[in-house]
Amino acid sequence: MADKGPLQMKFELRDGAVILSPEGEVGYHEAPALRIALREALDRKPSRLVVNLAGVAYMATPGLATLIEALQISKRTQIPLVLCGLTDRVRAIFEIARLPSVFKIVADLPAATA
């Protein structure tokens, strides 16, 4: 079985917004890396934090927990948090956990940065 390696993170600054694009799987093992990346992104105090999940093939509840934590910080610091690019598989866990209405979720990156 090929080692898929750790979760990869891409940061991009665009018009004051930070776009964070994790790539890989976000399970129990990988969620701490996402947590650190989200913290770093929020610490930059961007005008908006966009989390582009198009490259996330799988997410479990530790990944959801990190996003909920980031959402709570974003509300405290008044930094809008937008999720985009959810694959069907990732969207399914949001729906099972009844979270779609909690987050601002848009279809893709152009919609998130518009």
């Binding site: 399970g27 129990y28 799988y58 509840t61 959801l64 990190t66 709570q72 069907d88 956990a97």
Partner: protein
């Protein structure tokens, strides 16, 4: 109930079902791993491929993967307090509908030697309380058709969960589906194996794996 001992220290109790032939006597796959979350990605891949191979549609297979992943993460977090050297066993059974001879349900048993918890207090949390954590049990119960936690003797927990194959995809037990496999690599019916021998299991022998 019959005590069966595998090739290591996990005594398993097979629960007699109302129609006993429904429960497969031995697992199709039995996987042992240590409680290191770095290996969860491999387990996910294996479970996903197995589920598709036995006939679950992609959407169902990925949800079963999620349930197993959540259950294993709970064992690692709560059962072994994030220790990396705890022992975990995952067994996958194909249960047969005795009346029709059709594969009807996937039974997954996860056993550990970690800390015990009263099964009565293992519950999902209020989903209206939006906060990080505590969603794993909800996911497991939402995805699987039945979920049962038990305490093992003398220590550890056993989680038994079942997922019925959707009716439209049910296949004869001897004809596993071949999702994603080209015709030249199509599945052959499983070879006939000698019946499971509890005595051999009690003595610590290994089970033949297809």
């Amino acid at each position: 109930m019959t005590a069966i001992r595998n090739s290591h220290s996990f005594p398993r109790m097979t629960t007699a079902a109302p129609i006993t032939l429904q429960h497969a006597p031995r697992p199709e796959i039995c996987l042992q791993l240590v409680s290191n979350p770095a290996y969860l990605c491999g387990v996910r891949e294996l479970i996903g491929l197995f589920c598709k191979r036995v006939g679950f549609p992609e959407a169902h297979a990925s949800r079963i993967v999620l349930a197993v992943d959540e259950a294993l993460a709970n064992v690692m977090t709560h059962g072994y307090d994030r220790r990396l050297d705890g022992q975990i066993e995952v067994s996958l059974f194909k249960d047969i509908d005795a009346a029709t001879g059709i594969f009807g349900s996937l039974r997954i048993i996860i056993e550990d030697d970690g800390k015990q918890t009263d099964p009565a207090i293992i519950k999902s949390r209020d989903l209206d309380d939006i906060r990080p954590g505590g969603l794993g049990v909800h996911i497991i119960k939402e995805v699987m058709d039945s979920v049962k936690y038990e305490q093992r003797e003398p220590r550890g927990m056993r989680l038994t969960m079942c997922k019925h194959l959707p009716e439209e995809t049910a296949l004869p037990a001897s004809e596993p589906s071949c999702c994603g496999v080209s015709p030249t690599n199509s599945c052959s019916p499983a070879p006939a194996l000698r019946p499971f021998d509890p005595q051999r299991g009690e003595q610590g022998g290994t089970q033949p794996i297809m």
